[in-house]
Symmetry: none
Subunit: 204 residues, 4 copies
């Protein structure tokens, strides 16, 4: 349990105050990452920005990386939620329309806090991101895979692989574009690539 729980929150705070503190810490981490990058991300700074003491921080998180994991989980959850909403909305729509909608969701997510998103993308792999924390990320891919598998107009050998590929290519393309501030019609560009990948290019 020592190493396994390295990334899990130390305790699920039941009391209101506790939860609020934990959330403040995670949000403080997000702020700092967005504003100063990994270099400025240290437990003292996070605690200070969260209006808590280091001691409290360690009450809720077993260590620095666990905060990152919680933050990654939070972001993944948010993305998953946004994707879910869209997926159910476009379940019956034509494929290109559905993909366009999802691309827009992805672009919106990565755009809202671009630096944060990019950093988390990078860290997600570095930390093994213990199974539990990775669940959220996995969840997104699973949902997308199910969507793809359910489309009668697609005949994918491995929907899980496709889902993961699409997520990664979209992330790569979007992060790169945001870095270069080349955001015009970004969703459209992602859509073209995705449809092409799925063997259903729009231009046909």
């Amino acid at each position: 349990m020592d190493d396994a729980n390295r990334l899990s929150p130390r305790k699920t705070p039941v009391q209101r105050r506790g939860r609020a503190t934990a959330e403040a810490i995670v949000e403080a981490a997000a702020h700092i990452l967005e504003a100063e990058g990994l270099a400025g991300f240290n437990t003292n700074a996070v605690a200070a920005r969260a209006g808590a003491s280091v001691g409290s921080l360690y009450q809720y998180f077993p260590g620095k990386e666990a905060i990152l994991a919680a933050l990654a989980r939070r972001e993944a959850d948010r993305f998953a939620a946004a994707l879910d909403a869209t997926l159910s909305r476009v379940a019956a729509a034509p494929l290109d329309e559905a993909i366009t909608a999802m691309a827009a969701v992805a672009v919106a997510h990565q755009s809202s806090r671009p630096r944060l998103a990019r950093l988390l993308d990078g860290e997600e792999q570095r930390l093994g991101l213990g199974d539990e924390a990775q669940a959220a990320t996995r969840g997104t891919a699973d949902r997308l895979a199910r969507f793809l598998a359910g489309r009668p107009d697609l005949d994918l050998a491995d929907p899980n692989e496709a889902a993961a590929d699409l997520l990664h290519l979209a992330r790569g393309l979007i992060d790169g574009a945001l870095e270069r501030s080349a955001a015009s019609d970004l969703a459209g560009r992602v859509t073209r690539a995705a449809l092409g990948y799925l063997g259903a290019a729009s231009g046909c």
Copy 2:
């Protein structure tokens, strides 16, 4: 010149011994990054692995980030070289064939030292990668852009944007796949996405 040269090598070694040391340091950095990630990447470890002393390391590089920059440059150069070779070979080939060839080059490059490639992709943006060091990366995109612009069967509004997008989506897709050890027909997958992006999907 103080902050500007933060990433440039400190002195270009003239003597054979010096050049060998500088190269050994860069290669040692690559080894360590591949084997232990950024966590194990510190000047003492790099120097030790290179069979040199810290003092020597600082003779050739103004700091640890400069080593990273040199390594990134080296890898970018290698990729650019491989791409160049392929580009000239497939200049006249049908588009899908040309793209397939380039995808294969990209997959090969990222696969040879997957962890290293991924780490460098992440760091490349973190360091501003001073103009000079970024030249190599830029170079790759420029070459690809020229290739795309020259294709009569493509009519791209902005070849530079397209080139950058293709590079980034390919990196995203490939890195993600390698992380999951899902490498089967990787080049094919990349090709489909690329052709789709270019509005020339293979399946038409």
Copy 3:
């Protein structure tokens, strides 16, 4: 605030323990300077002698120079206090008597920890000694200047200059004498020079 506060204490400790630590560090610095000179003055040694850890040291001082500054300030304050006491005692005394008393104070101060005093005299100028830290030194000169300006038996064009000159000549003379262990009637020698400087030589 970054460079400006290079010499100011980092945090004013509120708790008793904290203040004690900060003071122990300053006193440790004094001990080391007296015993081993600037060569032995390093953060590890100071912290060790203070019975604290480097970490604590850096909690209270932003760097080693700040410790020097704090020490210089402490010594200047002590000297100023001693001078103050004497000044009020001899305010109405004949000039030569007053100067003799002050010379005795200066000799006593520099003699109590001669090496320390000499080192601080040397360092005081090297560090710019930020305005705040310099205040104490300035204070001494100001007090003396006021005293000189108030003497009816003196007619000085620039009492501030005279005060600074007297302080410096006394320091030079005393430090030099202590170095040579030539301390007999030191206060008398200083007094003669001072009275001469003031144009009121005793021998007239």
Copy 4:
């Protein structure tokens, strides 16, 4: 002989080139001290500024401190020479005139490279300044002592002590004044103090 010669030049270079190099090194040290203080004074910088290699530097000086010692000696010699010239010129003059002339020499010396002079004053005591190197400094005091002893209008108990005291008070006063850029009638101020010290104040 190991520790004893720590401060002596390693070899008295007989060949012209050797002497030139040694002198260049000493002058480079002076330049650096004047321009950047002790912080910038390191063997690599000195060698570079002297147009020599570190290796050559170590050919002529056993270590870093020896360069300082040589420089101190050079400056002391120059001062002694200037003082000698003046002493012989004013041997028969009235005391206040003679002292005034010497004060002017001291002011001129300390003013020509004020930072250098102050630094050397500080270092002179720190290094033990091996007997030989100290000889020059001693020499100045001896000359002055002889002059004082020879004056029929003075009756000093200990001319050596008086000479040393005068030199030190003058240095303290002058260095302090130059630091504050308060140089007007500096020689006059020194003279008043000196005459007062000698019990022969000008104002009588």
